[in-house]
Symmetry: C2
């Protein structure tokens, strides 16, 4: 029997209208949709985005991929997800794995794909890019990620403070993702150093409860989930 094809599908940053036509086309033609879920979520965020676009009769399979730093535990869950998907592909079923934002950016898709290809390197794979959280944040704030000859760095709040400091000093544009419980640490870092930068904070861009602020003092006093981002931009000549 011919094996099924495996699709990684980016569903965008939150607003169902930021889905692409290609993502919807794929989700409407596959046999099975795999839906990643952290054990904390009651309902998959990625699934809530695509829910209204897909056929009612498509097979939906939830895959629990917990957010944990325990590498052994993670490895076990990824392997389990990979073998579940691989078995479905072996039945000749086309499968999609949906992922918030873009499949190439901090997505569990990377691990799952690697796991599947380790089990069977002959699986046909297609990755559908999505609008990423980074582009969504830039649009919300109406601040470009980079212009002309500038660079931008995307990093995470999990990096050591010293490293973050160096990056902020060196680059014109810095996006720090997954702020979550590190929000206060990063806000303080921005307050206590003279980086000569504009600091912006945005949480849950594209959701109804979006929050953004340039006031790092205010930001440091509240708590936010992992969909929280700092965007730090060097002042341009005319802004100084």
């Amino acid at each position: 029997m011919e094996k099924g094809k495996f699709y990684g599908v980016g569903v965008g940053p939150g607003d169902p209208e930021l889905l692409t036509y290609k993502a919807v086309k794929v989700l409407r033609k596959v046999d099975v949709i795999f839906i990643p879920k952290s054990n904390l979520e009651k309902r998959s965020l990625a699934f809530s985005i695509v829910g209204n676009y897909i056929q009612n009769n498509v097979e939906q399979v939830e895959v629990v991929l917990p957010m944990t730093k325990d590498e052994e535990k993670l490895e076990r869950y990824w392997k389990e997800a990979a073998s579940k998907i691989k078995n479905t592909l072996d039945e000749g079923k086309d499968c999609a794995f949906i992922t918030l934002g873009d499949p190439g950016m901090y997505s569990t898709f990377s691990y799952v794909l690697r796991g599947i290809l380790k089990l069977d390197s002959s699986i046909e794979v297609e990755v559908i890019p999505g609008v990423s959280a980074v582009n969504s944040v830039s649009s919300w704030l109406q601040q470009p990620l980079a212009e002309g000859e500038e660079s931008f760095v995307v990093t995470t709040a999990l990096k050591p403070e010293k490293e973050l400091k160096e990056i902020i000093q060196k680059f014109e544009n810095v996006v720090i993702m997954k702020a979550g419980k590190h929000t206060e640490k990063i806000a303080s870092l921005l307050q206590s150093n003279n980086f000569n930068c504009k600091s912006l904070f945005i949480s849950r861009a594209g959701f109804n409860d979006v929050f953004c602020s340039e006031n790092m003092n205010e930001v440091s006093k509240r708590s936010f989930d992992y969909l929280s981002t700092f965007f730090i931009k060097k002042y341009r000549e005319e802004e100084k």
Copy 2:
């Protein structure tokens, strides 16, 4: 009279199916679509993506924004574009400015928006993010931009060689955009240094004449346009 609203609309990296529902909704409801064109292009690349989605009777206005390093000349063209759009908004017409990829990433939209807001800071603006070239390249190559606690840098081939070298040494993932006529320089840089990285090159991802290669010798011998990108990834432990 009430002024029109100004939309910046990302139309994605090339494949018309990578347009979002939101982009198409906006392009179908505005009164005027502004289409940026370099003086080299016979036809706007961004327009070729949206051509089949928009109404026939929508007003289309081409805006020439040349690719040049002459800052004075650029400034003049941006100002002209900004004032043209501002005048149309003043007539009460909603206007969209389309842009390849995402409006926040190396797009002329940033300059035009700044120009318009300088003329009239009360203009209502909405930016619709798009699938960026960076996400498209990552999907094509089936290589993640970043996983876990990694960072990635997006920079351009216009940066000095010394700076590019430092970035490649320091970061897990580096994307060098706008390779174009600098392709040979970058390919040589990657060949002649022992960065302990996987180097990938891709030109025109998402177009029919896409080309990709891991062979930097081959890459350095051919010529490519500005839609050319290097993607450089540190080897993971198991790949070494």
